[in-house]
Each structure stands twice: as structure tokens, then as C-alpha cells.
């Protein structure tokens, strides 16, 4: 009856090895999935690799990313040319996630204070702490980069989860909740004494993102663009722009592109990661052409820039003033804030401060968490 038991032990072991390989590459494989896979193997046999692949893929993948990655891992494992250990090794060199014993800690602790560096363990559980404190500039290991990417993705999605629109009931309001009112009246033999009302739905926050893609922002902007893509997909009413020497409308369709396509699209639309930045001029363009249509009283404008402008700070302050009058708040995220001393940055940012609600950093994971808290407040 149980077809899963029909697979020979050696095949079962091989399948288990394969699921182990998938797990090390970020797949979540539940025991029930393994039972399904065993059934597929019993049903289709192991000779027809193509059918086996399609069956395994359907049972073991759970996200589009896994779906796209699966074939490569399947062929690497089942082609029999590469042993499991070799596959693991190859994955490490190509950016796959490998077990911690195999993996030397690559994260530098630059950007963190010396006390913090001393308190962090070098290996084992301390790895995560080290990673969380490291400045994004010093994360080179692909596996650790992937961890940060995952965290950034979750961060944006969590923003959405906190703002679930749900109808709630109240004792007052303008729209009667008929079924609840009648339900309540059952205790009075069907006589409607008390009415129940639908409470007005919580309005979803709306964001307008202005991203600096000049050369000085290269390292941080790539990560922040990832955050932007996820945020745009989570909050449908949000809108994004990039700027270097001119303003580029990223719109909303960009979130559906993967990272390489996203970057290609930006490079096509703009002049790539160029040197100079004309923040004031880009903001002026935004204020003249998009502010009225996109920014409402509940909109948060999120600016991601180091503030290095070829125009004078006064011109920039003037544009920010216009934005701050229209938007609910203007949040300026400067990754260099955590890198240089306060005084160094203050000279540039001082004229802008009156028009900025929050001035934050985003150079490591704790600073991104702080940013999330501010966004949801």
C-alpha cells in the first residue's frame, strides 16, 4: 500500500542525501516532502531523470527562487559525475550556502567599535552577531551576503504584515454590520436593541522612495534597492525614484525583476552608477512633476542618500521644505552616518535638519531594524 516503502534502501539514502544538499542551499524540506518524493521515485523510477526532476521539483520547491535554482542542483547531484561533497564545495565557491564547519568566518568587524569587536566570538554562534554588527561594505562572503539579503527581504515583508487591513466592529460608526447586529439581537428574542458597526479600515501607509545611485553609494544602494523592491511589492501604493544627476522614475514594475535585471534596468534608464550627484536638481524635478500626484498627507518620503550634492545645501533645503509641507514625514537615511563622526556629516546636513523628521543610518543590520521601527511608527 505504502509506495514510499517500495524504493530500495540505497535509493532512499540517495534521496535523503539530495534533500540534505537542498537544505544546505536554503530549501526548507519537511519530512512530509520526503515522503512525497519517495512516492514520486517509486512511481516514476530513477531511470527517467527528466520525469524524476519534474516530480521532485514540484514536491520540494516552495518559492520562485527555489524553483529557478532547483534544476542546477538536481543535475549536479543526479548526474553522478559530482559527489555530494564536491557539490558542497562547488556551491561554496559559487555562492551556495554551506555548513558552518566548512565555512570560515569572512566578516570583518570594521565599522564596529573595538569593545564590540572584543565581545564577539569569532566562530560558531558568534558569527551571526559579528555579521549583524558588520558594516555592509565589509561583507564579502557570498553566503553571508545572502543572509543579509534574506534579512532585508524579511524586513520589508514584516512592514506589510504589521499593517493588515481588517474590518473590525465597534459600537458606533456609519456602516451597520447587519449579521452581527442580528446575531446580538438573538438574546432579546430577535428584537434589535443594539446595533453593531463596521469600523473604518486602517489606511495602508504609502511610501515614496528617493534613492541615490551615485558612485559613492554603490555598496549600500544595491542592498537598499533590494529593500525597495520588496517594499514596493508589499505596499502597492508606494512609488520609487532613483537619482544621480537626474531623476529616474522606477515606478512599480521594477519590483518584479530579479536583482540582475533590476540593475540592468537602472543602468538602461540612467547613466549607471555615475560619479556626481545633483540631489537638489533631482528633488526639484520630483517636486515639480510628481509631488502633487504621489504625495498625500499620509505619505512617508524616504530619502536614501549620503547628502553629497554638487548644489549648495540651501538649494536642497528649499526643496526639502516643499516636500515636508506635503508629506506626513520625511525620513533621510544616510549610510555614512554610522561610518563617519557626527560632526563630519553635520556640516553638510545642518541646513536640512529642520525639514527632516528622522535622520537615520543604514550601514548594518541593527540600523535597518531601527529604520523598520521608524517606518512603522
Amino acid at each position: 500500500m505504502n509506495t514510499a516503502n517500495n524504493t530500495v534502501p540505497s535509493v532512499s539514502n540517495r534521496i535523503l542525501d539530495f534533500t540534505q544538499l537542498l537544505r544546505t542551499n536554503g530549501f526548507t524540506i519537511e519530512p512530509s516532502c520526503i515522503t512525497d518524493v519517495m512516492q514520486v521515485a517509486a512511481d516514476r523510477g530513477l531511470r527517467d531523470h527528466n520525469q524524476l526532476r519534474l516530480g521532485f521539483k514540484c514536491c520540494l520547491c516552495k518559492t520562485p527562487e527555489q524553483w529557478k535554482k532547483f534544476d542546477k542542483l538536481f543535475f549536479a547531484f543526479w548526474a553522478n559525475r559530482i559527489s555530494y561533497e564536491e557539490t558542497q564545495h562547488n556551491n561554496a565557491s559559487q555562492g551556495g550556502v554551506v555548513s558552518s564547519s566548512h565555512n570560515q568566518r569572512m566578516v570583518g568587524l570594521a565599522g564596529t567599535s573595538s569593545e564590540k569587536q572584543q565581545s564577539v566570538n569569532v566562530y560558531g554562534s558568534g558569527d551571526y552577531t559579528a555579521l549583524s554588527l558588520a558594516d555592509f561594505r565589509f561583507v564579502f562572503n557570498p553566503a553571508e551576503k545572502r543572509l543579509i539579503d534574506q534579512f532585508v527581504d524579511e524586513l520589508a515583508q514584516r512592514c506589510r504584515r504589521r499593517h493588515i487591513k481588517k474590518t473590525r466592529l465597534s459600537h458606533s460608526g456609519s456602516r451597520v454590520a447587519l449579521s452581527k447586529s442580528i446575531h446580538q439581537s438573538l438574546r432579546y428574542q430577535g428584537k434589535v436593541f443594539q446595533l453593531r458597526f463596521h469600523k473604518r479600515r486602517q489606511k495602508l501607509p504609502s511610501f515614496v522612495l528617493l534613492l541615490d545611485i551615485s558612485q559613492s553609494m554603490d555598496v549600500y544602494a544595491r542592498l537598499f534597492l533590494r529593500f525597495t523592491r520588496k517594499l514596493l511589492s508589499a505596499f502597492e501604493t508606494s512609488h520609487a525614484f532613483a537619482f544621480n544627476i537626474e531623476l529616474i522614475d522606477l515606478g512599480k514594475g521594477f519590483y518584479s525583476l530579479d536583482e540582475s535585471h533590476f540593475e540592468h534596468a537602472i543602468n538602461t534608464a540612467s547613466q549607471g552608477w555615475v560619479g556626481g550627484t545633483r540631489i537638489a536638481r533631482s528633488f526639484e524635478d520630483f517636486n515639480n512633476n510628481h509631488l502633487g500626484a504621489l504625495v498625500k498627507s499620509h505619505t512617508t518620503i524616504l530619502i536614501f542618500s549620503d547628502g553629497c550634492d554638487t548644489d549648495t545645501p540651501d538649494v536642497l533645503a528649499e526643496q526639502l521644505k516643499i516636500m515636508s509641507h506635503k508629506a506626513r514625514r520625511v525620513i533621510w537615511v544616510n549610510p555614512l552616518k554610522g561610518r563617519f563622526s557626527e560632526e563630519h556629516i553635520e556640516t553638510r546636513m545642518q541646513p536640512l535638519q529642520p525639514f527632516i523628521s528622522h535622520y537615520l543610518s543604514a550601514h548594518n543590520l541593527p540600523s535597518l531594524v531601527k529604520l523598520q521601527r521608524v517606518l512603522l511608527n
Binding site: 526548507t28 519537511e30 512530509s32 516532502c33 512525497d36 512516492q39 514520486v40 512511481d43 516514476r44 527528466n50 520525469q51 519534474l54 516530480g55 521539483k57 514540484c58 514536491c59 520547491c61 516552495k62 518559492t63 520562485p64 524553483w67 529557478k68 515583508q157 506589510r160 504584515r161 493588515i164 487591513k165 481588517k166 474590518t167 447587519l178 449579521s179 442580528i182 446575531h183 439581537s185 438573538l186 428574542q189 430577535g190 479600515r201 511589492s233 508589499a234 502597492e236 522614475d249 515606478g251 512599480k252 514594475g253 521594477f254 518584479s256 525583476l257 535585471h261 540592468h264 534596468a265 538602461t268 534608464a269
Partner: protein, 298 residues
């Protein structure tokens, strides 16, 4: 044996005008074989919803569709009590009963019975005597609380009603969930489903789909339309056109009597609204029109 069943499935879908590949057929076959729901993800307009429709037609089963949206709750998806009828029942029974005590005990037994239950799509699928195809469309639009509601239905094919008990499916429905990836679905939901991702089809497959849906289309026009659409999908539009848009556009061109995109570019452009849905996209297409037609010619 399994190969025969997969071929049959593929033929049955083809008979409904749904062009599919081995991967999707394999996933649909496994859905039936393992008795699990199938979660299909992919861009809008690639034919996710259409699969359920074609399957129900091919198998001659009733299609029950639950369209998800923000705020969807148990009352609209599972079941609800018919309060109006309950109210009438109370008022009809009240004068006949001499004491409040006898009224209360009588109402307790009668008010919360199947007679006063309004079946919503999920309950309808579970309670059906014959197997049905249950389509839970755009599940990512619903709230996370709703996902939790779905878990019992998806894993055990049963619904628990506190007042009545648990209803187990009389015949196991074929469940297909679709998602456009607007919101990340919970792990619990994903775990209970088989998974399939539908990407935009390749040029050949898309041509087959267009021809299958528009049997009278000129071979050359189908090729040009598909080449043009495939090309603009790489341009990073706000809303990339799906297969549905390709079919709409080809249909519009046929209706206008166009057999060659290059013969009358202005006429072709006037139908562009079938393909692109925002002003910015339209402007982008107009700017790059020259290049796009050139690529198409190559």
C-alpha cells in the same frame, strides 16, 4: 502507466485550448496522485487561473472559485449562519412556547443546525457529493489570518464548525491555489501544497498559445506579435504584458484587419492599449518603437 496518464492529461488540456509543457503536466498529475493542493505562482496573465477552468472542463467537474481579497474572512469563505432566518424562527416560535426555559432549549437544538447554515465556497467544495475543482484565486491578496483558516481545509479537507462539529470532505476536491507574489505567503501554507511556478512562456510556446486561442490568426502576424511582446518584456515596464495581453492584442489586430505589423504602424499603435496598461509604459513603448519593430524584423 503513469506516462499514459500524463499524456491523457496533456491531451485533455490541449482539447480545452490550454497549451502546456511537461513540467506543468507533471505537477498536475502529482496533485492527483498525492492528493495534495497545488500552489501555482507566476506573473499576472500567464494562465494560472485558466488551468483550473480548463481542468474542470476537461474532467467534467464543477468549478468552485473563491476570489481572495483583503478582508476576506470565514463568513465569506467557509460558512455563515443565516441570521435573518434564525430571527424569523425565533419570532415564530416565541408565542407558541409557554416558558422562556422551554423556548431556550428548543432554540438551542434547532437554530444551529445545517438548515440555517449558509455554505460559502470552501464549505461547498467539502460538502459536495461529487469531486469538484476548487480554485482559490490570488490567495496572496487575502490577509494572513485567512491563510490560517485555509490550513485545516488544505491539509485534512475538513471544516470545523464549533456549533455542529467537524465536516470531512465526502469526495476530495482538486484544489488549486494561485498567487501573483504580491505578498509573501506563510510557510505553513506552502508546506501543505505542491508547488509550481509559471514563467512567461518562450517564443514557440507563446505562438502555439496564440494560435490555439485565435485559430484564424495569420501565421506571420502571430509570429510578429509574439516577437514584439517577448521583446518588450525585457524593457522593465511597470506592468509587463502577460500571455492574456498577447492574445488580446493579436485579437484586436485581427479585428482591425491587420495581417502585418509593419504594413500600417499607426494602426498597430492604436491597439497598443491592449498590451500596455499605464501611461508611462505607453510612452516608453512609443520612444523605443522603432527599435522594437526592428528587433521584431530580425
Amino acid at each position: 502507466m503513469a506516462t499514459d496518464q500524463r499524456t491523457e492529461l496533456s491531451d485533455a488540456l490541449a482539447a480545452q485550448g490550454y497549451v502546456t509543457d511537461a513540467s506543468l503536466v507533471s505537477s498536475l498529475y502529482l496533485m492527483g496522485k498525492l492528493g495534495k493542493p497545488l500552489l501555482i505562482e507566476g506573473e499576472a496573465g500567464v494562465g494560472k487561473t485558466e488551468i483550473a477552468k480548463c481542468l474542470s472542463s476537461a474532467w467534467g467537474r464543477k468549478l468552485i472559485r473563491l476570489q481572495c481579497y483583503e478582508g476576506l474572512d470565514a463568513q465569506n469563505a467557509l460558512y455563515d449562519w443565516d441570521y435573518q432566518r434564525q430571527l424569523l424562527a425565533i419570532q415564530m416560535q416565541a408565542p407558541a412556547q409557554s416558558t422562556a426555559k422551554s423556548l431556550a432549549s428548543d432554540l438551542k437544538n434547532s437554530l444551529y443546525s445545517v438548515d440555517f447554515l449558509l455554505k460559502r465556497p470552501l464549505f461547498e467544495a467539502i460538502a459536495s457529493d461529487t469531486p469538484v475543482v476548487l480554485l482559490i484565486d490570488e490567495v496572496d491578496r487575502a490577509d494572513q489570518e485567512f491563510e490560517a483558516l485555509l490550513l485545516e481545509v488544505l491539509s485534512d479537507f475538513q471544516i470545523s464548525i464549533p456549533e455542529l462539529g467537524t465536516f470531512t470532505a465526502r469526495s476530495q476536491p482538486t484544489v488549486i491555489l494561485t498567487s501573483n507574489g504580491i505578498r509573501e505567503l506563510s510557510d505553513a501554507l506552502r508546506r501543505r501544497c505542491l508547488y509550481h511556478y509559471i514563467d512567461y512562456p518562450g517564443s514557440d510556446t507563446e505562438q502555439k498559445i496564440v494560435k490555439s486561442r485565435l485559430p484564424g490568426i495569420d501565421e506571420n502576424l502571430a509570429r510578429q506579435v509574439v516577437a514584439f511582446v517577448q521583446n518588450i518584456r525585457t524593457k522593465g515596464l511597470r506592468k509587463s504584458p502577460g500571455v492574456a495581453e498577447s492574445i488580446d492584442w493579436a485579437n484586436a489586430l485581427m479585428t482591425m484587419g491587420v495581417n502585418d505589423l509593419h504594413s500600417d504602424p499607426e494602426l498597430s499603435n492604436s491597439t497598443m492599449s491592449c498590451l500596455v496598461k499605464t501611461r508611462n509604459d505607453l510612452e516608453l513603448i512609443k520612444q523605443e518603437q522603432h527599435k522594437l519593430y526592428q528587433t521584431d524584423e530580425q
